[in-house]
């Protein structure tokens, strides 16, 4: 049982690391930004501008957060 649990945990951790990577907030932000884009598009609003803007904001946020961490250490 312990071996199985360990294996499942290792398997889950591998896929989490592989897909989500170092900064889970970026992955969550991407999902949220796509959801907002879909909502805008389905409400017949002009939606094309939102995702690029959100992506650049996420990149900036993630970089600044890493830089803050590096400067503190």
């Amino acid at each position: 049982m312990n071996g199985a649990v360990r294996w499942i945990r290792a398997f889950g951790t591998f896929w989490w690391d592989f897909i989500v990577g170092d900064d889970w907030r970026v992955a969550a932000g991407v999902v949220a930004a796509i959801a907002v884009t879909a909502a805008l598009a389905h409400a017949n609003r002009t939606a094309w501008w939102f995702l690029p803007l959100a992506v650049l904001a996420l990149l900036t946020f993630s970089l600044l957060s890493s830089v803050r961490g590096a400067r503190r250490s």
Binding site: I19, G21, D22, V30, I34, T37, A38, H42, V67
Partner: protein, 259 residues
């Protein structure tokens, strides 16, 4: 145009990962013998081929909008990760990937382990290390090949880009007889990050129901905006790093088998 970008992205992504896998395989082969190391490489490449062969046709069955939403989101997450790391490395907030130093550390580590055979493999440790190196470094590329290829309707073209990169890097490794320390790895990672982020943004928005102004031409606009922003961020962070002073030298970290 899209085909050129597709092959370039897959080629660059695969070349970066192949350089990193080559360092591991070289260290294993030189220190413990080539037979088991090459068996590991063959098994790793076969596993990657199975993943591409199984996932590729499966993805073509998914409706195009759902596929673009899923693939776009995944590429965006991957792309932002590559871009973030390459900007941090280019600006000095993260140490550059040093293939030479990794090779030396790996060489010392693998020499210390006892040799044990299993089935047809003479040195199980050498086999598994090479296998894991190839599989883990190649897994992201396999996903890029499958997702890019299925979205563009040309998995063979994406596979061709990946295979060409493996051949070029292997040939360079054989010619140099050592790790490819002079390859501009971080610049290549930056380019891949920009391309994945741009394609991811374009496809995810299309999958979400967006109609891009200018249709396909909008992709070039997205590419330009992402490139410009990434370059501006690199320059700004480089100045900040110069103000703070240089990063302390890298400590002896274990070799990483995943980006």
């Amino acid at each position: 145009m899209r085909d050129v970008l597709l092959v370039s992205t897959v080629f660059l992504a695969c070349a970066v990962e192949a350089v990193e896998a080559l360092t591991i395989v070289l260290a294993v082969g030189v220190s413990r013998g080539w037979r088991s190391a090459l068996q590991g490489v063959a098994a790793g490449l076969a596993a990657l081929a199975v993943i591409v062969a199984a996932l590729g046709p499966a993805l073509t069955l998914v409706p195009i909008d759902a596929l673009r939403l899923f693939v776009g989101g995944l590429l965006l997450i991957f792309g932002l990760g590559w871009l973030r790391k390459s900007i941090l490395r280019a600006s000095g907030f993260k140490t550059l990937h040093d293939e030479e130093a990794i090779y030396v550390r790996e060489l010392a580590a693998v020499r210390a382990v006892e040799r044990r055979g299993r089935a047809v493999v003479g040195d199980w440790y050498a086999f598994t290390l090479s296998f894991k190196g190839v599989l883990l470094e190649g897994l992201e590329v396999a996903f890029i090949v499958v997702t890019f290829g299925s979205n563009q309707g040309s998995i063979p073209l994406a596979t061709l880009g990946a295979a060409a990169a493996v051949l070029v890097v292997t040939a360079a490794g054989v010619a140099v007889r050592g790790p490819l320390a002079r390859v501009p790895e971080n610049t290549m990672k930056f380019a891949v990050g920009v391309l994945l982020t741009s394609f991811g943004t374009f496809w995810a928005a299309e999958g979400a129901g967006v109609e891009w102004p200018g249709n396909d031409a909008a992709l070039l606009g997205v590419l330009g905006v992402v490139t410009a922003t990434a370059l501006v961020m690199t320059v700004a962070l480089r100045r900040l790093r110069a103000y703070d002073g240089p990063l302390p030298p890298e400590s002896g970290q274990p070799v990483r088998l995943h980006p």
